[in-house]
């Protein structure tokens, strides 16, 4: 023992009157540094319950749990992260991955509690002192664990596309598709919103794994028209995608197209393992209409073993997908590919047969065990303004059908389209192409009641129409089509101030003094379509229940009050292709249930 050791305890007494090194009140005197990774905070309104934080946590410290008062709805699972501080190591990966930037770490790091269960809590829900701490760890700017922006899709330039009907969206390459698929965090918010509840993250995963056959199998479980939907689906799923909060939503639609585009139809049967293992049933089902609803019902009924036969009034299958949607958005050979596969499973189809005229609904009801009708909305609606009965005033859907049938249509020199929806944009852009093809100087103007900000058409449709030199001039109410010496002179309009009243009902208000005249020699009306239910005879009408607004009332199985008569698609819900597909699928299950009672 040295002398120093002996003296040390006494030397320590010498420090008794010095300032102590310990801190009196560590809770207040030693705040964490500005970017300290302390206890979690969560902005509960901004969080969407995607679960990415739970998924990334390498310590399994996070559970996703329901929270009272937070509703499960489109784009929000209603779950919120609960942290277990018995496991958390404050790595902040959960913060860095958070889809909405709602999750942060405060710089608070002291917390004393007797009950260990208190250290499991839901940040933002269970109130804490540090909830309003500004300091702490936030995701650094310009740094993201996932690429926030989508892989851009190649498109034909306006001058390359405005005189032809060839498809202008190019489709992803393998590299592009895999890079885009890589952005998905597998949360499934999209699945809940998709009307057909497609297993979207699962087929996106198949792209990541370069297993496109698996991707195809997953798609066909809920959607037998992937080439079509991969091009023109209204993609509601993308509006709720978790990735859309910090950047762009996944290109779910283009990824679907990518899978279908890579596999030739001839391989479908092997991949989907269909055709051989279907055990046939004796019961027969008739389907009226070969739109998406009819095709989907036929596909799923055939897979259940039923003999199905489609009756179609027009010469080819597809309904509005073929006779409405223009070819430059949806090429006919892609419709053919999806349809051909469905027919190859043994679905029969007879064209140019109009139910109600060539065969009555009663006859179908007698000959078949059940009937599904997906007859769509094919009657153009008129503005009924003076002059609307002139021979050079057309319905958009009639013109689009004629174009698809390959018939020559009248193309004016100065055309006005009344309507601001996607159908109006489709006919506008089709007419631009026809004017170019006929060497007429492009002069098509679309005008709608709705002002630009509330036009029902998709933004990209409006922008692309303008790129193709169409004029979109929204916010005008049609008054009269002026006719002189039997010829159309133009459209008189007045300013539309608002379209809906305070209760959200359609009730347009105008300023009669603010007028505008659109010069024209041809007018196209595109203000909506109605259904033609004349094939339902008076007798049957007494057995089928209708709503006040003239819609057939159906149950969850899409069964009307006449038990063998099922209905779906645009005449019930939508209007879009994916609702038709979903309805057809549910009706097929419903028919199976009904026939097995």
């Amino acid at each position: 023992m040295s002398l120093k050791d002996v003296l040390l305890p006494f030397l320590a007494w010498g420090k008794v009157f010095k300032n102590p090194v310990t801190i009196k009140d560590p809770f207040n005197d030693r705040p964490g540094s500005a970017r300290y990774r302390g206890f979690h905070k969560n902005d509960i309104e901004a969080c969407i319950g995607c679960g990415a934080c739970e998924e990334i946590c390498q310590n399994a410290a996070i559970d996703m749990v329901p929270v009272k008062g937070i509703e499960t709805k489109d784009g929000d699972s209603g779950l919120r992260p609960m942290v277990d501080y018995g496991r958390c190591c404050w790595c902040a990966l959960c913060v860095d991955v958070c889809s909405t930037n709602s999750l942060n770490l405060s710089n608070e790091y002291t917390w004393v509690e007797n009950d260990p269960d208190k250290f499991r809590y839901i940040p933002g829900v269970d109130k804490k002192d540090w909830d309003n701490n500004e300091l702490g760890w936030k995701k650094p700017e310009n740094y993201d664990l996932n690429e926030p922006f989508r892989i851009q899709m190649e498109e034909l330039k306006p001058e390359k596309r405005d005189s032809s009907f060839i498809e202008f969206v190019k489709g992803y390459s393998k590299e592009q598709a895999e890079a885009e698929a890589d952005r998905c965090i597998d949360c499934g918010l999209c699945t809940a919103t998709c009307p057909a509840h497609m297993a979207i993250p699962e087929y996106i995963k198949a792209i990541r794994n370069d297993d496109l056959e698996e991707g195809l199998r997953i798609m066909y479980e809920t959607n037998p028209l992937p080439e079509i939907c991969g091009r023109i689906c209204t993609h509601k799923c993308e509006t709720v995608c978790a990735m859309g909060h910090k950047g762009d939503a996944l290109s779910i639609r283009w990824l679907k197209r990518y899978i279908a585009d890579q596999i030739p139809e001839s391989k479908y049967k092997d991949i989907l393992n269909q055709g051989n293992d279907i055990s046939p049933k004796s019961k027969k089902i008739a389907i009226i209409g070969s739109g998406p609803a009819g095709l989907s019902a036929a596909y799923y009924l055939t897979n259940l073993g039923y003999k199905t036969k489609i009756f179609e009034a027009l010469p080819e299958a597809g309904g509005m997908m073929r006779y409405g949607i223009p070819e430059y958005r949806l090429p006919y050979d892609q419709i053919d590919k999806d349809v051909k596969y469905i027919l190859s499973l043994g679905v029969e189809i007879e064209y140019n047969i109009k139910i109600g005229k060539d065969i009555s609904l009663e006859e179908l009801g007698k000959e078949y065990d059940a009937v599904f009708a997906g007859t769509g909305l094919h009657l153009g609606r008129s503005t009924r303004i003076p002059g609307a009965e002139h021979e050079n005033v057309y319905f958009a859907t009639d013109l689009l059908r004629e174009i698809s049938l390959g018939n020559d249509i009248h193309v004016g020199n100065k055309i006005v389209v009344i309507g601001g929806g996607n159908v109006a944009m489709d006919i506008t852009r089709s007419l631009v192409r026809l004017q170019n093809q006929k060497n007429i100087k492009v002069d098509v103007t679309a005008t709608s009641l709705e002002s630009e900000d509330i036009m029902p058409a998709d933004r990209e449709e409006i922008d692309e129409s303008r790129e193709e030199k169409a004029i979109i001039d929204p916010g005008w109410g049609p008054k009269e089509i002026e006719i002189k010496d039997g010829k159309i002179k133009g459209l008189r309009t007045i300013k539309c101030l608002s379209v809906f009243d305070d209760e959200g009902r359609f009730n347009p208000k105008f300023d009669e003094k603010d007028k505008k005249f659109f010069e024209a020699d041809m007018v196209v009306e595109s203000i909506g379509q109605g259904m033609d239910l004349t094939y339902i005879s008076e007798d049957i009408k007494t057995m089928v229940k209708f709503s006040d607004r003239g819609r057939i009332i159906v149950n969850k199985d899409f069964q009307s009050s006449l038990d063998w008569f099922f209905v779906g698609g645009d005449i019930i819900e939508g209007p879009d292709v994916i609702h038709g597909i979903a309805n057809g699928h549910k009706a097929a299950k419903g028919i199976d249930k009904f026939l097995n009672k």
């Binding site: 679960g51 390498q58 310590n59 399994a60 709805k73 779950l79 277990d84 918010l189």
Partner: protein
């Protein structure tokens, strides 16, 4: 800085130069020439301070990257020297004779990545992990989640819900075709 880099490029066969800013550059050099480059930088170019030594696991390429961050206190400039070594037999000459404190960095890299630095003092003593019985934890093929699930039992009463199943149950229960009733994840 530009001049220094030019002369280094001539002498040391630098394979890549990345300019991060006026006072920070990243140089990639061959393993064989790394030691002479580092000594040259310390003795001739006065990068007298080793800020730190770290590693990156490039699993797919079968390589570890070593990064030596050097600082020249007079000129207030930094250089990062990158050296790629094989992942299969990860070994690098020790620099503890150039900077004594590098031994600590190297001890940490041995523990976290399993990189050998022959002759480095106390290289094999435990650094942070006492009684570690697995592959080095910073290697990317180490499954952190699996390890933590196997090693630390969950607190009783914990329960989590799967987003997809939960939304299905809440929003479209009639179409349910899953066995998993409440959207609860299997424990």
């Amino acid at each position: 800085m530009e001049n220094i880099i030019k002369s280094l490029e001539e002498k040391f066969n630098i394979s890549e130069v990345i300019k991060k800013s006026d006072n920070l550059n990243i140089l990639t050099v061959d393993k064989k020439l790394a030691m002479s480059l580092i000594i040259y930088l310390k003795e001739i170019e006065k990068f007298s301070h080793l800020v730190m030594l770290s590693a990156v696991d490039w699993l797919e390429d079968g390589k570890f990257q070593l990064s030596y961050i050097l600082n020249n206190p007079e000129k207030k400039i930094d250089l990062i020297i990158r050296v790629f070594i094989s992942r299969e037999k990860p070994e690098m000459e020790s620099i503890h004779k150039i900077w004594v404190h590098a031994a600590t960095d190297q001890r940490e890299l041995k523990e976290m990545y399993g990189i050998e630095f022959p002759e480095s003092p106390r290289l094999n003593d435990d650094f942070l992990l006492e009684g570690w019985d697995n592959i080095p934890p910073m290697r990317r093929d180490f499954d952190t989640l699996k390890y933590s699930e196997e090693t630390f039992f969950p607190r009783p009463g914990r329960q989590t819900y799967e987003t997809k199943e939960y939304m299905k149950e809440k929003m479209y229960p009639d179409e349910k075709n899953s066995k998993n009733k409440k959207g609860l994840k299997d424990a």
